[in-house]
Every structure is written in structure tokens, then in C-alpha cells.
């Protein structure tokens, strides 16, 4: 499918174009005037998308392009920077730039009239730049830099409506949670550098690279340049996985993602559903050879736990965006767990399909929210426009949103003819095949997958029925603007099977899967037939059940109280527990140190000030009274003496005579009587 043939140099140039153009929209908008128009941003991201497509068409399943230049050197250590364009990165490039383009277009309608819209475009540009650079970077150091930038731009966008207290709180929460993961990433990088002395991904993780050639002898992990205890290998793997846990919202660092929904819905769609959260999975893919079996087991357990937990929480949420957020957490758990069981290609495949249908789910939800908000403002009503209990009957009022969102929901649930069916079944079947080779808890993994995917069907069906079925609650809600609808339709097409495989019933024909190394587990053909059927039939039954409970002629009710309901509704009490375990102690420590600062440190300083004040008071008094007093005393003595003797010089004759007489008498007395 090559359209044009490019040389490696041209491809690098194209890569730079693809990366830099979104950054230009950031720069132009930050440095220049306040461009409220979307033209520049959309132009830039289009350029980026087109370049990505060209690169993709050239390099998919083609040769790997790896070009680097010397970046800087510290002493004798040389650090290089460059591009690594393999199947994973070119796929991610197209995915990121494509979905960004769609979200940009959607945002022109969704964010219309926002007074800070120029900042919105700038932040989106920054995000696209960092994400694009993240996926092509060839060095762990560069990846780390853009990893941080991605986290930062996500922080900016979550807190975009920073005047809302909840939004700024959520932005801080996301940033701090991500920092915890970043510490892991950094630790992993340090271990790798200590062991191999390079950050170059190709040198480290390539075929026959340093990781491959490092051997484990007698509990020591030996590379060409250094050796350390084998525990460091597992630690490094786990440390990198911590980065993934934070970015891809895995247990126990997942709690930021639902709160991140305070940002604009288009942002949630782009960053917190389709692209940024996939960065964690992408990182796992990039450094996959590093993980030993212990870390892979941890990854599997955490992934599957997250998938199950996210799904159960999504069951009882009432905020439409929160349901989708927990669904994202759950789906990311799927991808991570798939990485853990070695289903590398399947995981990336699910990442790609999930990006489209989850983006669509969010954007359609955004359309609903937007229209309800508009309706609310027009009629001066007061209700929570994100609460699905207050929606209903929008099927007839917003048919395009209904149809597209249903397609996305079907993809999420994994119904045939959708992309989700292919990727989810790929993971499911691979997990069954993988479990064949093991005993113990590993046997459980595929069953938890299956259970989770059924829960997924139920909650997404609940969402669709609640929002679009039943009696219309509000009169006069219209379809969202045509710009939004066109984006929804494009994404709906991308959520169907056609983009990924020509055969809607088997993932074997999927071109993405062929682009990655097979998981290498033994193939059981019988599973490929049975599992999709079981899953699909059960899913249909579940949808029917959900329709009975939440649909138009609801005959049954779902118990909305009780211990399990509350447990799920309060998101397994993670936030409460974290508040109790971490936030409170930190708060009391900081309150204590504030008091310490206020009382002891400030007190000491104040005491010193008071002491100096007293001392200077004393010296002031001394100066005024003793030294000045002495001088003044002398002068006043002289003055008084002068005044006294002056009296004798009154100029009056008789005074002189008196004086004279006194003196004579005094001399007389002195002479004769004393």
C-alpha cells in the first residue's frame, strides 16, 4: 500500500514535520496574538496527520528506520537523540495525529464561544507535539522528557476550566498521581543506565541488544559492562511498570482518571481515553524485552484486577463521563494484562480499536452533554446535565449521536461486525490459549477476562438505555451541530470491522496483528470458534436484561442500595482510603510543619528581632542619656557658670559696689576669723 517511496532522510524530515507542526500552533498562540480561530491549529494537525500517514504507508511492515544525532555529552558519556520508526511507532503516530485531528475539528463546535479558546488550541498543540515525539523517540531519556510533557499538558487541559474548584483539584490530583509513576520511570531508567550505560532503545531492546545478551548466572544479572543482583532486573521492570500504572490509570494509581473528567469532554476523549492513557501501554510495548516472568506476572495480575475493578465501578456510576472513565480504566487493564500474558500484538491491536471507539463514546457523550447544557441555559433550568438518570429518550431527538454511540458501545461490548469484537476476542482467546500452559491462579485469568467483558456489556447497555431510551424528559433538544456529527460518523466508521480486518468474524485477518510478533502460544483452533460464540450469545442475553431494567418498558429494577452497590458506587472506596492513608497524614504533617514554621522558626526569628529591638533600645537610651547627657552636662555647666558670672557684669554701678563690698568683707572674714 505504498503510495510513494521515500528515502530514510525524507522520512526523518517528515517525522520532524509531524512532530513540530503541532508545537508551532502552541508557539504561535502563546507568543503571538490571541488567535481565537481554529484554522491554524487544524492546519497544523492536518499536516502532522498527512505526514504520519505518508510515513505509515512507507514503513508499515517495512524496514525499521533508526536515525540519531549526538545530543550532548557529559564527560565521556555521549547521549544521542533520534527517531526510531518501527511498526509500533508509526501505528501510534497515525492513531495520535488522526484522533487529534478529529478532536480538533470536533472542538471547533464543542468549545465555541469559550473565552480562553486560544489557550485551548495552544494546550492541544503542546499535547499533540509531546505525544507524537513520545512515540517516535529512540532514547529512554527523550521518552521520559516527553512523558513528563504529556503529563503536564494533560494537567493544563484537565484544569482548563480552572475557575471551577473541582477542575483545578482534579488537575492537581492527576499531576501528583502521575508524578508517583514518573518516579518509577526515573528509577527504572537509572537502573538501566547503571547496568548498560546507554538509554538507546535500539541498543537496549533491539534484536540481540544489550538486554538479550545480558545473562543471568547464579542470581547475578550480567551485562557487558556491569553486573548486579538479579533482583534489580525485576525492580527495573516493576519501576517502568509504575510509570505505566500512573499514565494508564492502573490500580493502585487509577483514581486520577475519573476526576480528570472535569476537563472539557473533547479533552477527555483525546487524552484520557484514546491517546495519552495509551502511552503507558505503549511504553510497555517499547521496553517489552526487559520484563522477566515475575514482572510479567505482576503486570498480568494488576491489569486483570484493574479491568475487573473498573468494570464493576462503572456499573453503578451515574455521571455519563465517569462511566466512560471507569470503562477506560477497565479497558486499559485489558491491554496491560494482555501485555502481561505475552499477547503483545493483541494488546496493541486493542489499543488501536479502543482509541477509536472510546474516543467516539466520549465525543458522542460530549454532544449529548453539550446539547443538554445548551437546553439548560436556554430554559434556565437547574439540573446536572451529566447525570444519566436525568436523561432519557434522546434517541429521537439526537439520532446521529444515538446511532454512532450505539456502534461504539457495541464495539466496547464486543459485538460482531465491530472493531472491538476483533480485538477483545483476540485478547480473550489468547488468554485462554496462554492459560492452557499453566496451573493455579493463571487458569483463572481468562475467566476473569470473560466475566469482566460481560460486566462491560451490562454497564454500557445501561448507559445507552438510560440516555437514549425511555420517555423524552426535555422538549426541544436538537441534534448537535453538523461539525460534531460528521466527526462522530467518521469515528463510527472507524469503530467498525472494516478498517481493521476484512473478515468481521476472525481477528486472524487483522493487518495490525500481522504487524507484530506473534505471542507464540500454542493455537487451539477450537477456541477460536467456541469463545466468540459463547461471549456474543451471553452478551446478547445481558443486553436484553439491561433493556428490561433500564429500557423503555422497564419491568425490573436494579437494586440501588445495599453493601455491594455502595461499594461499587463509591469506587471501591479507593479515594476514601487514599484520603485516609495519604492525604490526611500529609495534610497533618504539613499542618504540623506549618505550625512548626509559624511557632518555632518564626518565633525564633521574632525573638531575635525582639532581642535586637531591646538591645538597640538600650544603646539608644545609653547614647541619649549617658553620652549625650555627658556632653550636654558639660555644656550646661559651662552655660550655668557663664550665667552665674555674668550676673556680676550687670553694668550697674551699685551692683559692682555690692560685689566689691562682699569681696572685701569676705577677705576680711577670711583673714581674721578663719
Amino acid at each position: 500500500m505504498k503510495i510513494l517511496n521515500f528515502s530514510a532522510d525524507t522520512l526523518c524530515l517528515l517525522t520532524i514535520i509531524a512532530i513540530v507542526f503541532p508545537f508551532l500552533s502552541f508557539l504561535m498562540i502563546i507568543l503571538g496574538k490571541q488567535y481565537k480561530k481554529s484554522t491554524i491549529s487544524i492546519f497544523n494537525i492536518s499536516i502532522s496527520f498527512i505526514s504520519s500517514l505518508l510515513i505509515f504507508s512507507n514503513l508499515w511492515n517495512g524496514e525499521v528506520v533508526h536515525q540519531q544525532v549526538e545530543w550532548f555529552s557529559v564527560g565521556s558519556y555521549v547521549f544521542s537523540a533520534g527517531f526510531l520508526l518501527n511498526n509500533l511507532s508509526v501505528l501510534m503516530m497515525v492513531l495520535v495525529s488522526g484522533i487529534s485531528l478529529l478532536v480538533h475539528v470536533y472542538s471547533t463546535a464543542y468549545m465555541k464561544g469559550d473565552e480562553n479558546i486560544h489557550k485551548y488550541w495552544a494546550y492541544l498543540g503542546l499535547f499533540c507535539f509531546s505525544m507524537m515525539a513520545l512515540v517516535v523517540a529512540d532514547s529512554l531519556l527523550l521518552i521520559y522528557m516527553f512523558w513528563e510533557l504529556v503529563g503536564f499538558s494533560s494537567f493544563l487541559l484537565i484544569g482548563f476550566w480552572f475557575t471551577k474548584a473541582a477542575a483545578s483539584q482534579a488537575a492537581k490530583k492527576a499531576f501528583i498521581m502521575n508524578r508517583i509513576g514518573d518516579i518509577g520511570f526515573l528509577t527504572g531508567m537509572m537502573i538501566i543506565y547503571a547496568q548498560f550505560g546507554t538509554f538507546d532503545i535500539v541498543k537496549l531492546f533491539g534484536n540481540g541488544g544489550l538486554i538479550d545478551s545480558a545473562s543471568i548466572v547464579d542470581g547475578m544479572w550480567i551485562s557487558a559492562s556491569a553486573e548486579m543482583s538479579v533482583i534489580w532486573l525485576s525492580l527495573a521492570g516493576f519501576a517502568f511498570f509504575m510509570g505505566t500504572m500512573a499514565k494508564s490509570a492502573q490500580f493502585p494509581l487509577h483514581t486520577w482518571l475519573p476526576d480528570a473528567m472535569e476537563g472539557p469532554t473533547s479533552v477527555s476523549s483525546l487524552i484520557h481515553a484514546a491517546t495519552m492513557v495509551a502511552a503507558g501501554v505503549f511504553l510497555l510495548g517499547r521496553i517489552y524485552p526487559l520484563f522477566d516472568s515475575l514482572v510479567l506476572n505482576i503486570i498480568t495480575v494488576i491489569g486483570i484486577f484493574t479491568a475487573f475493578m473498573g468494570a464493576t465501578i462503572a456499573l453503578t456510576q451515574n455521571d455519563i463521563k465517569r462511566i466512560l472513565a471507569y470503562s477506560t480504566i477497565s479497558q486499559l487493564g485489558f491491554m496491560v494484562a494482555a501485555m502481561g500474558i505475552g499477547a503483545y500484538g493483541e494488546s496493541i491491536f486493542h489499543l488501536a480499536t479502543h482509541a477509536f471507539f472510546k474516543c467516539l463514546l466520549f465525543l458522542a457523550a460530549g454532544a449529548v452533554i453539550h446539547q443538554l447544557h445548551y437546553h439548560k441555559k436556554q430554559h434556565n433550568l437547574e439540573f446536572d446535565h451529566q447525570d444519566i438518570r436525568l436523561m432519557g429518550g434522546l434517541r429521537k431527538q439526537m439520532p446521529i449521536a444515538f446511532i454512532t454511540m450505539s456502534i461504539a458501545a457495541a464495539a466496547l461490548a464486543g459485538f460482531p461486525f465491530t472493531s472491538g469484537f476483533l480485538s477483545k476476542d483476540a485478547i480473550l482467546i489468547t488468554s485462554f490459549e496462554w492459560a492452557e500452559g499453566y496451573n493455579g491462579f493463571k487458569k483463572l485469568v481468562p475467566y476473569i477476562f470473560m466475566l469482566t467483558s460481560w460486566i462491560t456489556v451490562f454497564y454500557i447497555a445501561r448507559l445507552i438505555f438510560r440516555v437514549f431510551f425511555g420517555k423524552p424528559r426535555y422538549e426541544g433538544i436538537k441534534e448537535a451541530s453538523s461539525v460534531m456529527n460528521r466527526v462522530l460518523v467518521v469515528l463510527a466508521f472507524c469503530s467498525l470491522f472494516l478498517l481493521f480486518s476484512f473478515n468481521p468474524f476472525s481477528f486472524d485477518g487483522s493487518w495490525i496483528l500481522h504487524g507484530f510478533v506473534s505471542s507464540g502460544v500454542k493455537r487451539f483452533s477450537v477456541l477460536h470458534v467456541i469463545i466468540p460464540e459463547i461471549v456474543t450469545i451471553t452478551s446478547i442475553v445481558i443486553v436484553f436484561m439491561a433493556y428490561r431494567i433500564y429500557g423503555s418498558g422497564a419491568t425490573k429494577t436494579f437494586p440501588e442500595n445495599g453493601l455491594i452497590y455502595r461499594f461499587s458506587n463509591r469506587a471501591w472506596y479507593f479515594d476514601t482510603a487514599y484520603r485516609f492513608l495519604f492525604v490526611r497524614p500529609v495534610e497533618s504533617i504539613s499542618r504540623f510543619s506549618y505550625k512548626f514554621d509559624k511557632l518555632i522558626v518564626d518565633g525564633l526569628v521574632n525573638l531575635l528581632a525582639v532581642g535586637v529591638d531591646i538591645l538597640s533600645g538600650i544603646s539608644d537610651w545609653f547614647d541619649r542619656n549617658i553620652i549625650d547627657g555627658f556632653v550636654n552636662g558639660i555644656s550646661s555647666f559651662a552655660r550655668k557658670t557663664g550665667d552665674f558670672t555674668r550676673q556680676f557684669q550687670s553694668g550697674k554701678l551699685q551692683h559692682y559696689l555690692v560685689t566689691m563690698l562682699t569681696v572685701v568683707i569676705a577677705i576680711f572674714i577670711l583673714t581674721y576669723f578663719i
Binding site: Q649, S650, G651, K652, L653, Q654, Y656, L657, V658, L661
Partner: protein
């Protein structure tokens, strides 16, 4: 015969009256009179002590001499007072204080 002490007493009283007048009077003429009193007290002393020098009469001689000098002094003093009056338009010694710097 009048004893010497009576003369001495009268002389002392006269001197004191003269001194008082010199120190306290607000009129230069009265001050001059005070001075005359004091001179006369001295002359009285000369005469009183003259009884011990009857042959040469030194006391009498000095008394006459002093009377002449006092008359001359009074003439000069009155002339000065006259000039002072012309200059200051007053003869109150308390009001004339140009002797100070």
C-alpha cells in the same frame, strides 16, 4: 570727756548710713550724699583719734585735707552727674548699665 568709743560708734553709724545710701538710692545725687556721709565718718575718725596727737595735730590736718578733697570730689562728681543726665536723660544709677560689655 567724751570717750573714744562714742566717736567710733557715731562714725560707724554714719559710715553704714552712707554705705546704705550708696548701695540702694535710685538717685545719683543721693548716692553722692551717701559718699559724703562715708567721707565724713572717716573725717570724724581722724578728728577723734587726733586727741592722741595733740602736739603735731596730725588728725586735724588730715581732716582738713580730706574736707578739701571731698569738696573737690563733690564738684567733679556733680559735673559728671550733670553730664550723665545730659547723656542718659536720667540719673538713676540702676538704669545706666552701659558699663557692661
Amino acid at each position: 570727756m567724751i570717750p573714744l568709743s562714742h566717736f567710733m560708734l557715731i562714725s560707724a553709724v554714719l559710715f553704714c548710713i552712707g554705705l546704705y545710701a550708696v548701695l540702694t538710692k535710685r538717685n545719683a545725687i543721693q548716692v553722692l550724699i551717701g559718699i559724703e556721709f562715708m567721707i565724713n565718718a572717716a573725717i570724724l575718725n581722724f578728728v577723734a583719734f587726733g586727741q592722741f596727737d595733740k602736739i603735731k595735730g596730725g588728725g586735724q590736718m588730715f581732716a582738713l585735707f580730706a574736707i578739701v578733697l571731698a569738696a573737690a570730689g563733690v564738684a567733679v562728681a556733680l559735673a559728671i552727674i550733670l553730664n550723665v543726665y545730659k547723656h542718659f536723660r536720667t540719673i538713676d544709677p540702676a538704669k545706666i548699665d552701659t558699663l557692661k560689655d
